[in-house]
């Protein structure tokens, strides 16, 4: 073999390696996140007044100021979501416990923000796996929070070891019931779950509002908010104030593991996944589609309900009107980002939690509107949802060269 042949071989090997990377779906996800960040940076630069002032000076100055603005934004985002390394170092050197807690709080607070995302993301992902588009996670979350707060408020004198699981169970069943209704309607009448879950959202919002202005309202206050729940129902916090990090995060991880087991390791999961991928074949194989739909919607609603329960028992310790601010809706995007796989959902939820938490800090220190984060999330998702964009920008290869894909499928085909 001549030298040039060897070089050729080597090149071929590198080529194969690059090919593999460029075909991997993970590459697209990572590049989508990266592209979203770049786009966000551009947006910051374009909306910055300093940059416009610099335009009058020179082109180089414009670039410098723009870079500066983007850099400051992401620095604030990092400090807000992970913490300021310098401050953490200083705190540990000083040995002051409270200073340490304050310094590392951003990181733990991001995990606190991630927790409801994990629950709600799992809810939507489970639905996707069974071919159901559960847009109702937000409403299920509200109902779950409401049923939880009832148990957490009015059951008294129980030990925590019983009260906490009971309150969580109440949230699961409440959310599950809210998911069960559209599931049952779909199975029995064919009513589409997208429409029905959206409508159920409105009912849930107004219902919880009604309850918070009436029977559940703290009798000693004026605002539509409940009294503080029993201490025995609170989720255990690992550290003292101000760190709110609580055991809910690990319960969420455990739930992700359970969903993974259910979907991929049990016969029930086999049924659910088959119904989701090809209901015709599921029927042919003797699976019960009605039952699968109803069960899946119940479980999906239940997981969303746990997101609400988690917020009540772990973070707020009460229930207020509009407390969720869109966890349920974000979770649709998040489930897509996580490719409807429990592990993907956990990772996506943590990303979203860090972004959300960092955004608050970003607004405070860099004066960047919090909406930039929404744009960032939207851009990342748009890139994920349209992998063709990412493939074109980065000149990636198609994942599988299917000989038939190029001849477009006609409507009569399959």
């Amino acid at each position: 073999m001549s030298n040039s042949d060897k070089a050729q071989e080597k090149k071929k090997f590198a080529g194969v390696f690059l090919d593999e990377i460029s075909k991997s779906p993970l590459t697209v996800t990572i590049l989508a996140i990266f592209s979203g960040l770049v786009l966000g940076g551009l947006l910051v630069a374009v909306t910055s007044e300093d940059v416009y002032a610099a335009v009058r000076v020179s082109f180089g100055e414009t670039l410098r100021v723009a870079w500066d603005a983007a850099w400051r934004t992401y620095k604030a985002l990092f400090i807000g979501s992970v913490g300021d390394p310098a401050r953490i170092m200083a705190a540990f050197q000083s040995g002051d416990a409270e200073a340490i807690r304050r310094a590392v709080n951003p990181f733990f607070e991001s995990l606190v923000q991630s927790t409801p995302y994990i629950f709600a993301g799992l809810a939507v992902a489970l639905g996707f796996r069974v071919g159901l588009f559960n847009i109702g996670a937000e409403g299920q979350l509200f109902i779950g929070a409401t049923t939880t707060v009832v148990v957490a408020l009015f059951l008294k004198g129980l030990p925590a070891i019983i009260h906490v699981p009971l309150a969580l169970l109440a949230g699961f069943i409440g959310g599950g019931f809210w998911g069960f209704i559209p599931g049952w309607l779909k199975a029995k009448t064919g009513g589409h779950e997208v429409i029905n879950t959206i409508m159920m959202n409105y009912i849930a919002f107004r219902l919880s509002e009604f309850l918070l202005r009436g029977p559940l309202k703290n009798p000693e206050g004026y605002s539509p908010i409940t009294a503080e729940i029993q201490d025995s129902a609170k989720l255990w916090r690992f550290f003292e104030s101000p760190i709110r990090f609580h055991i809910g995060f690990f319960i969420a991880l455990f739930c992700a593991y359970l969903v993974y087991l259910l979907l991929f390791k049990t016969t029930w999961g086999f049924t659910l996944r088959t119904v989701g991928s090809n209901p015709h074949a599921a029927r042919y194989a003797g699976m019960n589609i009605v039952k699968s739909t109803v069960v899946a919607m119940f479980l999906s609603g239940g997981l969303a309900g746990l997101a609400g329960a988690n917020e009540v028992l772990g973070v707020n310790h009460n229930l207020a009107v509009a407390f969720s601010s869109g966890y349920g809706f974000d979770s649709i995007a998040l489930a897509l980002l996580g490719k409807s796989h429990p592990l993907g959902v956990v990772l996506a939820a943590i990303l979203f939690g860090f972004l959300r938490n960092g955004a608050i800090q970003m607004q405070l220190t860099a004066g960047i509107p919090i909406d930039i984060i929404s744009v960032l999330q939207a851009a990342i998702l748009a890139f994920i949802a349209a992998p063709a964009i990412i493939r074109t920008i980065y000149r990636l290869k198609e994942p599988e060269m299917d000989l038939d894909t190029i001849t477009l499928r006609g409507w009569g085909g399959n």
């Binding site: 049924t271 088959t274 991928s277 090809n278 074949a281 042919y284 299917d402 000989l403 001849t407 409507w411």
Partner: protein
């Protein structure tokens, strides 16, 4: 005179596959040229190159002696090349005129569509070639055969002289096939030239002027119907001698396994599709149900397998009343079903080969212990079935949708035959498959019969029915108009029955 179309040394590589390997092909003016080969031989790739959907890695294309560059379908349309794809490219909610105009609209001043002018041209084309297509009909209301003619009109409307038809007969009934070939004849008489892609030997011998056989991306032979016979062509296609004629021992029918009495089934539109049908299938025999597509066979099979409930009548399987039983109950009695539409009903294309093997047994030992799937056992069984049924797949863990049609069908056959069964419904078991796979599946069906399984074979391919069946039942407009002994009937008699012509008694 130079040929109207010439392909020289066309080569196309896909990652890991040499789809076309220096293919030469000439098409003379006014001929029907058959491109014969098994699925995956490279026929469609070659035609997609000619049509501009792929670009070749090497090779040249000449039209009327002039070299042309084809970079997109619009280049090939300009050169007078048109293609009818296997899956039609029509918009169902548009009229014929609108579909034909699409992409080549005649407009009046101000950009308004001139439907009338287009419709007149379509009518003229339709009359000239006897296509009998109404320009104002909505495509969704047309039978498949007519839709195909709409596709042909699209090409003629764009003044194509070279027509490529990709597997044109795959979706047609026997009558529609005959009509299509009449049309093709009339097209070549008017100076058009046709390449038609197929793997059906009979059609090639009957209708082609010349034949080119492709195997593994290479041209392996060129011949004419006068010089070749079915066995030669099959051998060329498959690369080995193929046994087209099944050797089978006479059936040894035993006890009645399936008994159907006065069955009435409705179709999706709530119309009576199966009308008072009664018959029985015995262990160790194959009952073939012949009939033109759409005469109630689909609904009959759905009722027997539990996918629909009949409105009246009785179905008994192995002594149990299964008239309203669920698919799972019927399966658990020892019944197997090779469904008509394998991709819709028979497989989960996105799931792995291994998962598809256990699609209807996953919930039972040994594949499940309690609610836990036994993945190792599933995989182990998958490897065994792949080996035993010769499924060509790189692994048991790739999506079944990436396999070829023949191998997908082997996955279904492997799955259904790997558990003890006493009754088998095989609906169009070889539709769209190549010669090698057909041969394989036919042998397996006979094997099952000889094992003492009762087999109900539903097929619109008369040859298949004649070859495999011990008794033949003919369905016509929802009724089973005759059940005849396969040994004492002829293809002509069954063909007439399929058309609804019932022989007079004693005739």
């Amino acid at each position: 005179m130079s040929p109207i179309l010439e392909l020289r040394g066309i080569t196309k590589r896909f990652p890991g596959v040499l789809a076309n390997d220096h293919i030469d092909l000439t098409l003379e003016q006014g001929e029907i040229h058959a491109l014969l080969g098994e699925n995956g031989a490279g026929k469609t790739t070659l035609m997609n190159i000619l049509y501009g959907l792929y670009s070749p890695d090497e090779g040249e294309i000449f039209v009327r002696g002039e070299k042309i560059e084809v970079r997109s379908p619009s280049d090939s349309i300009k050169a007078g090349v048109g293609m009818v794809h296997q899956h039609f490219m029509l918009v169902p909610v548009f009229t014929v005129t609108e579909n034909v105009m699409l992409g080549d609209e005649i407009t009046r001043m101000g950009g308004f569509l001139n439907r009338r002018a287009a419709a007149e041209r379509i009518r003229a084309i339709s009359d000239q070639y006897h296509l009998e297509v109404n320009p104002d009909a909505y495509v969704r209301d047309l039978p498949v055969g007519v839709q195909q003619r709409v596709e042909i009109i699209k090409l003629l409307y764009r003044e194509a002289d070279i027509l490529i038809l990709d597997e044109p007969t795959a979706v047609l009934t026997p009558q529609e096939v005959d009509e299509l070939f009449t049309i093709m004849r009339s097209l070549v008489e008017h100076g058009k030239s046709i390449i038609f892609i197929t793997h059906k030997l009979r059609e090639v011998l009957e209708f082609a002027d010349r034949i080119t056989v492709i195997r593994g991306g290479k041209v392996v032979g060129a011949t004419t119907p006068q010089e070749a016979d079915q066995n030669q062509l099959a051998a060329m296609m498959v690369g080995r001698a193929v046994d087209l004629h099944l050797e089978k021992a006479p059936a040894q029918p035993q006890d009645v396994v399936l008994q159907v009495e006065d069955l009435v089934v409705l179709d999706d539109a709530e119309q009576v599709a199966v009308n008072q049908v009664s018959f029985e299938v015995r262990a160790g025999e194959i009952l073939g149900v012949a009939g033109v597509q759409g005469n109630g066979q689909t609904e009959l099979v759905r009722a027997l397998t539990g996918l629909t409930n009949p409105v009246s009548g009785r179905v008994t399987l192995l002594g149990q009343d299964i008239t309203t039983a669920s698919p799972r109950e019927i399966t658990e009695l020892g019944s197997a079903h090779i469904p008509e539409d394998r991709q819709r009903d028979g497989l989960v294309l996105t799931a792995t080969v291994a998962d598809n093997f256990v699609l209807n047994t996953y919930y039972r030992p040994p594949f499940a212990r309690g609610v836990w799937l036994q993945e190792e056992k599933v995989l182990e069984t998958a490897e065994e079935i792949i080996e035993k049924f010769d499924v060509r797949t790189p692994s048991a863990l790739i999506p079944v949708g990436s396999l070829s049609g023949g191998n997908q069908q082997k996955v279904i056959v492997g799955r259904e035959f790997s558990r003890p069964i006493k009754f088998l419904v095989a609906s169009q078991p070889t539709r769209g498959l190549d010669v090698g796979s057909i041969e394989y599946i036919h042998h397996r069906l006979i094997e099952k019969r000889d094992d003492g399984c009762a087999v109900l074979l539903v097929s619109t391919e008369l040859d298949e029915i004649m070859e495999l069946s011990d008794r033949i039942a003919v369905m016509y407009r929802g009724k089973m108009i005759a059940i005849v002994d396969a040994a004492q009937t002829t293809k002509e008699e069954v063909g007439l029955l399929m058309a609804g012509v019932v022989a007079q008694s004693g005739g």
